[in-house]
């Protein structure tokens, strides 16, 4: 069996390889799966009115459940979708319990809309979808590229010297590395699908 991951280099590995390795007990592969998708998972949970303790519990439930099902994922490339769906389901339950209300029909869209704060979800589904696509795309970058883009997105900004220290990227290489990472992000399947969808809907008669 080939060595699936980087050994000091910064190589992007297909998620299928990571899932298979983790299912066989490779802890480093699992750590990379978590690193890739943790932000996406948290983003999906944020709009629900959860306390930070509840949010941590739901996130942990999703990761624990994934550990037990790694070997059964029929299509590892659909992992982001699995994470999003599982997270939403668990969050809906916890949010509904905290609200001390129970839906007569949980499929009723007005009910699920009540469980999330207005700003993020129901007024801007399109934005939520774009954010998920971006974080899914971020997961396809190399560890170093991802780490760099996350640090550069922080507010207040992290000084370049600090970014260089944390990522091991020389100060002068930060700009070019960022540009390559963003180009790569733009080419990620989830972002391309999103753009195609926008163009498609733009062409359609209103």
């Amino acid at each position: 069996m080939g060595e699936p991951r980087r050994a000091g280099g910064d190589v992007e590995t297909d998620v299928t390889v990571l899932v298979k390795a983790a299912a066989l007990g490779d802890a480093a592969a699992w750590a990379e799966i978590v690193d890739r998708y943790n932000r996406l998972l948290i983003k999906v949970l944020l709009p629900y009115r959860l306390t930070s303790g509840e949010l941590e519990d739901v996130a942990q439930t999703v990761w624990l459940r994934l550990i037990e099902h790694l070997g059964e994922l029929r299509e590892p490339r659909a992992l982001p979708c699995w994470i999003i769906t599982t997270a939403r389901r668990e969050a809906t339950y916890v949010a509904s319990r905290s609200a001390r209300m129970l839906p007569s029909d949980p499929q009723d869209p007005t009910w699920s809309a009540q469980l999330v704060s207005d700003e993020d979800f129901d007024t801007d589904l399109v934005r939520a979808e774009r954010h998920e696509a971006l974080l899914e795309g971020l997961a396809t970058l190399t560890v170093r590229q991802r780490q760099l883009l996350v640090l550069l997105s922080e507010d207040p900004p992290v000084p370049y010297a600090e970014i260089s220290r944390r990522t091991g990227i020389a100060m002068g290489a930060i700009g070019p590395t960022r540009a390559r990472a963003l180009e790569r992000l733009r080419a990620a399947p989830s972002i391309r699908a999103l753009r195609a969808g926008v163009e498609e809907s733009g062409r359609r008669p209103r």
């Binding site: 930070s52 949010l55 519990d57 439930t61 099902h69 339950y93 499929q107 954010h131 971006l134 992000l185």
Partner: protein
């Protein structure tokens, strides 16, 4: 590559927007997830009963509707199911097909937080139950299984 030079900067801004709010808890959550991998089930004989039905998610089929609005969970393997009803202060459940045994409530990191006997008809009650992330570890004379993790 850059037919629209502004494009990439828009993408960077969108990404920053997408990442907003995800930082605060990310390290704690990732640390727990990574730690959890070290105590995953590596017991080949142990079956994992997947969450087949959860009244909290699904439009409820009549057979599993609970008029009191309690959460009903059904975990299943090929041969056996565990049905659980989550009441405000306790959990009642049943093995199917019925058989005697024990149920342990396992918290993350493998800690057993409660144990209950299962009677000949497959019924059990866990009282009280604490809120948190748990799974049930069920044993009968012929089967050992764990359920999916759930947050009660």
């Amino acid at each position: 590559m850059s037919e629209r030079p502004g494009d990439i900067e828009d993408l960077a801004r969108d990404l920053a927007d997408a990442l907003r709010g995800t930082g605060a808890l990310s390290e704690a959550i990732a640390a727990k997830a990574i730690e959890a991998f070290t105590w995953r089930s590596i017991d080949d004989e142990l079956l994992t009963a997947g969450l087949l039905f959860d009244s909290a998610h699904e439009a409820q089929p009549v057979a599993t509707r609970d008029d009191d609005g309690n959460r009903v969970l059904v975990f299943a393997t090929d041969l056996r199911t565990v049905e659980v009803e989550v009441l405000p202060d306790r959990v009642v459940g049943q093995f199917s097909p019925p058989s005697a045994g024990t149920v342990e409530v396992e918290a993350p990191q493998g800690e057993i937080v409660a144990t209950a006997e299962v009677d000949d008809l497959g019924f059990f009650m866990i009282d009280p139950i604490r809120t948190g992330v748990v799974r049930l570890r069920c044993s009968t004379s012929t089967t050992r299984l764990v359920t999916d993790w759930v947050r009660l």
